[in-house]
Symmetry: C2
Subunit: 156 residues, 2 copies
DNA sequence: TATTGTTATACTCTATAACTATA
DNA sequence: TATAGTTATAGAGTATAACAATA
């Protein structure tokens, strides 16, 4: 005996004040995209963060942890358990640098590169499903706008 | 005697594989915008989530908690502590419904409406600073695209 | 039986302070 | 003294299962 409050229909609740905010729409979109990505990465036993780290390590062999942290914009301590996990699973290895024995070089293993290949394909399929062609001029404009906003938000 | 790895300069790390993903750019932008928003809301002792809840309760007096949860796309249990906090601070009150004594009507108090007014102004200033004019046709197109992507990600 | 709000719990992401070993 | 990686810890968002009161 309820009304039609099914699925994503929020009934008569007015959320215009929030929906006119670009930031709120970014948040809602990110949450939905992230949930779908989690589903796509689950079969590989990866999360968005472990996936991102693996990608950067494969694309930049011998990367140092601090450089990885900078590239991902996360604090160094948060990366430790991520790297621990990838290493424990045999996807990467830490190798002490002879030139600076404080630092590690992060090196992908063969299984790491193989998982990378499969996961990248799955993530690309997920992306084109949600966003359409990734080289579409409209999509490129959207990404350019997002990056401008990111820079403006950071410079404060 | 390090190179120019200052600030947000990530050195020679290649993150093209990630940066070509729309979802990754959304995540990075959201994180930066969210950090700035947190700074803007801190003087009001609000976070993005408590702000969003307060806005919906002021804009929809007598809202039920379950409808608020639907509108915000969060699970009902997560809303309880949010509502607890707003009520404890005297910004809203829970009022039992005579028609359905399981449910509460969430009602903003005068201090709640006053805080809403001030916080909304601050958030609008933050938004225009980062995103530019909110009624700019380009911004409206961006928001429309984000909402399309949100819907596509949800329907899976 | 089903729903509203609640409790308990868990996982993830993010951040800071302080430690170690090297430099 | 400064840096790389680490440990410990905390705050916040999100999710599920199970419960009491009510429908």
């Amino acid at each position: 005996m309820q009304d039609a409050s099914q699925d994503d229909f929020t009934g008569e609740v007015s959320d215009e004040t929030l929906r006119q905010l670009v930031g709120y729409n970014i948040k809602r979109t990110f949450n939905a995209v992230q949930a779908d990505l989690a589903r796509v990465l689950a079969p590989f036993d990866l999360r968005m963060m472990t996936y991102s780290a693996l990608v950067l390590i494969v694309d930049n062999p011998s990367l140092r942890q601090s450089h990885l942290a900078d590239a991902l914009a996360v604090e160094r301590p948060n990366l430790v358990i991520i790297i621990d996990e990838l290493e424990r699973r045999g996807l990467i290895s830490r190798e002490r640098l002879a030139s600076d024995r404080r630092a590690y070089a992060l090196v992908p293993t063969l299984p790491g590169r193989q998982l990378y290949e499969k996961a990248v394909r799955a993530v690309c399929a997920h992306e084109t499903h949600i966003f359409g062609a990734l080289d579409d001029p409209e999509t490129l404009k959207l990404v350019a706008a997002l990056r401008r906003f990111e820079q403006r938000a950071r410079r404060r």
